[in-house]
């Protein structure tokens, strides 16, 4: 029988993968994908807690909002990355390093 713990474990795994992706990737799009993984890990948590927790729809509603927000963030994020590509001709975060100190 699959219970709450299984879902939480999967969510933790996805969260760890997302964090690992964010910390190791040098490509801006790769980092954005890592952020999506983190958001989806949180979504799994919300749904699992809502399924096994109190009989309200709070968790599901949060998940829907987070999916929407992830899309909004991706829109702004991709526009910024596109701007970076036009300016620097690269989307590597190290190639765009001009501000230091």
């Amino acid at each position: 029988m699959i219970g709450l713990t299984h879902y939480l474990f999967v969510a933790l795994l996805v969260f760890a993968l997302g964090l690992f992706c964010v910390l190791t990737r040098r490509n801006s799009l790769g980092i954005l994908m890592g952020i999506e993984l983190i958001l989806n890990a949180a979504n799994i948590n919300y749904l699992a807690f809502a399924r096994f927790g109190p009989a309200t729809y709070d968790g599901q509603i949060v998940a829907i909002f987070v999916i929407m927000l992830a899309a909004a963030e991706a829109v702004v994020g991709l526009a910024i990355v596109l701007g970076i590509y036009q300016t620097f001709h690269s989307i590597d975060v190290e190639a765009t390093e001009t501000l230091r100190g």
């Binding site: 964090l19 949180a42 807690f49 910024i80």
Partner: protein, 492 residues
Amino acid sequence: MDLANVDSLSFIAPEIVLTVTMLAVFVLDRAVRAAERIGDAVRGGLALALVAMVWVPHELDGWLFARQLVHDPFAAFFEVLFALAAMATVWMSMGSAEVRRMQQGEYYGLLLAATIGACFMAASANLLMAYLSLELLSICSYALAGFVRHDRGSSEAALKYLLYGGVASGVMLFGLSWLFGLCGSLDLVEIHAALVAGSVPPATLTIALVLILAGLGFKISMVPFHMWAPDVYAGAPVPVAAFLSVASKAAGFALLVRVLYPTMSMPAGGGAWDVLGGVEWPQLLAVLAAVTMTFGNLAALRQQRLKRMLAYSGVAHAGYLLMGLVVLDDTGLEAMLFYLIAYYFMNFGAFAVVGILHDHAGSDDLGAYRGLARRGGMLPAVAMAAFLFSLIGVPPFVGFFAKLFLFAAVVQQELYTLAVIGVLNSVISVGYYFSVLRMMFVEPPAADAGVVETTWHARTLHVVLLVGTCALGVAAGPILGFARYSLQFFSG
């Protein structure tokens, strides 16, 4: 009171005014092409929103929109602060050559949307609302930071802000999901009730809180989540950097106080608070406050560019402000609110002067300030001196009283180590603030440096902020009384 959707509308009149202004700006941008008109329209809208903030009935506290938002003096305090911050930002933007080259409609529209997000953030009564409003503020800020097209610094600032911000808010969302699971509700008051009942395992709760601190620490630029601040401030247009340093930071503090105080602690009588759920966050915050202010001040010492210096100074000030949260007492929170008012005047002032020089010399290099007082820039130089003295904490400026109240609250709770670290930090900060003063007043102007001309528009802003910085120090008592009044949380 617990109001449903339609009844709540009159209580969010300020936000409605801001939204209508935002939509009007987009239309105006198409209809009229004069930049000043749009700036004036935004200022009018903000003034109307400020009137609405006063007009909204303050004697009634309660929940709005079926417990999504809360209407209480604490939220009202921050709403006014954010509207004033947006007002100063618009004022600064209208005189800024940097902003004049941009798409006016989008710029002011995003600024207003960010302000609305900040207002809702301070008023959120629910984890979902808190997260949504934080993202509204963040996503608009990412776009604002990168608003200068084909500019390397600005593009890079936007990218860094986006990536750091996305990770921080994602981590915070994961922490919030654990808080939701542990307490069985998204409602802050019900979370409080679950913590009072004591059925929540402290170890898991601590982890959730640390994850939430990552997101909020990012907003207030707390070490170790401060890395974005210097790069973003350096690359973003000057008015945007000023907005981020004051409004964004204040919004982070508003939500942090809401989560830590009425939710994760309970009043213990006489203004003191007790921690709930067995999480020792005051100790954690005390260490973070000490590290944040020390790191910020030491890093600022090495800076040769004013925007970066002010960014690190902002990190240091986040450390001072955090001290107000550590003391677990109303005096600390009052001092923190007072500090935010003071910070508004002195930091916006400093950025306003940086904006003048940025337009004149095209850079915010320390060298550009050489002999400023002797080449036409007497008012900016004198104003800057006042703002910097206030940031150091020299009497009779408002910054002195802000620090005084904060340190007094810390000493009153016998946290002597923290108080000593704070005072030592104020001494360190003299080093970098004075290098700017020396450059402006002592060093002779470079031979090829032109006369700095200021418009009456910029001078008005300088004078207003200068008067605030000087006069609020004299009127410290009533302002502190106002902060005390604002420290009321509605919890049913």
